[in-house]
Each structure stands twice: as structure tokens, then as C-alpha cells.
Symmetry: C2
Subunit: 131 residues, 2 copies
């Protein structure tokens, strides 16, 4: 893993360590109230919307590994692997803007296709099971 | 865009500028013969396999914008927006390992879901059109 300490990266990594260790409440302490998050499904505005998106993902996490982390005073980019309950090997990348010790903007990229496939398989299985 | 010049990033950005300016042959001059690329669909080994994956994507490109680029002597991470013929707003992230001026490893993350949806819509349209 590549890591250089910068103002933005310190916050980005603190956030990352919190959510990947299943302490999502602590992770949220690094999120600005007015965060804007550009996620694969669209734009999320505000900490509550962000929690609604990222919280359930963090709950599904079974393993994570930081691949790279770089940054400067204002921005950091993290890339990581995760395994989750529905999908193994689900990497993600985030570009985070930090101001006043809080993450004010996050662009997050991951592949939704295997999650969609797992969701469809689960709903087919439920239908077949009759429950 | 955040940009710091480092050995790995110089190569990563030269590669990026080449493929986003539709000069894929030039882009390939930065790719090691024995590159290993971890793409959303799986592992690609060797420059020919890499060209077969990335070349068609580069051909579909209609616009690109570099969001962030960071790196050190060995690794660089790029995040970018692209618009493509089938999908608008298709961001990607790459973690590139560079040795001897060539990219020897690339981890690339993007969301396949909108590309899959576009492919399905196109094949449905073709079937409906009878061609």
C-alpha cells in the first residue's frame, strides 16, 4: 500500500479505517453535514443521504484491503478491495475533498453489476422458495 | 484537477492523454508487454489482452476529464470522467504500477451496470427492428 500523510489523507484514512472496522458512527464524524457525494446511482446531498447509502454497504463488509492512498492538502484518492456478504472482490475508489477536517465531497466509483446480479439471484431464490 | 509530477505519474498521465486523445497506438507504447490488468470482468494478462479490452473502450470515448492524479515513484492513481457513445458520465479509476517507464500493472474500476443496460437496450432495439 502506498501512503503519504497529507491533511486530506489523514481525514480520508481515518474515515476509511472507521467504516472498514464496522464503526460507522465514528466514520460519520468525518463527514460534513453538507457533503455532496457523487455515487454510481447519482448525486447524494447531505450527511443523512450519505449515511443511507454508505451505511448499509459498510454493514455488508466482511474484509477490506487498502490498495493505494494518495493526496494533498485538499484532496485524497483511496483505492481499496472489499469482500461483502453478497459479492466477493468488490473494489472501490474514492476521491475525497476535505475542508476543516471533514469530508465535504466524495466521488465514489465501484462496479454495481455484481451487486445487481446478486440481488436478482437472491430475489429469484426467494420467489422459488415461496417465502 | 490535482497533479503532482512523479515518475509513475508522468507515465500514467502520458498513457491517459494518449488514449483520451484517440491515439491508442501511442497509449500502448506505455504498456509493458507482460502487463497484468485487474478489470471488473477479471484478470487480463499481456499487452494483447489489454489492447482487446481497453482499445474498444477508447474508441467509444466522446469526452474525458481528469478528476485527480496522484502518485509516487512506483504507483499512480488516476480518477477521470468520461462520456462514451453508449453511456454518458462513466467515471473510472486506475491504480497503475510503473517500472522502466512502462505500466506493468493496472487495477481499473468502473461501473459496468450502465454499459450492460445500454447493451441490452441496443440488442432489444435490434431485435425489434428486425436487422
Amino acid at each position: 500500500m502506498n501512503e503519504q500523510s497529507t491533511a486530506a489523507m489523514d481525514v480520508a484514512l481515518a474515515y476509511h479505517r472507521a467504516w472498514t472496522s464496522h464503526d460507522f458512527d465514528r466514520a460519520m464524524t468525518y463527514i460534513a453535514e453538507d457533503i455532496v457525494c457523487q455515487a454510481p446511482a447519482g448525486r447524494l446531498a447531505g450527511a443523512d443521504a450519505f449515511r443511507g447509502f454508505m451505511g448499509p454497504f459498510a454493514q455488508m463488509l466482511t474484509r477490506s484491503n487498502l490498495v493505494a492512498a494518495f493526496g494533498d492538502d485538499e484532496k485524497a484518492v483511496l483505492m481499496y478491495d472489499t469482500d461483502t456478504v453478497p459479492v466477493q472482490d468488490a473494489p472501490g475508489a474514492e476521491c475525497l475533498t476535505v475542508a476543516g477536517g471533514k469530508i465535504t465531497h466524495m466521488r465514489i466509483i465501484f462496479d454495481r453489476l455484481p451487486f445487481e446480479a446478486a440481488r436478482r439471484a437472491a430475489s429469484t431464490g426467494e420467489a422459488a422458495g415461496g417465502e
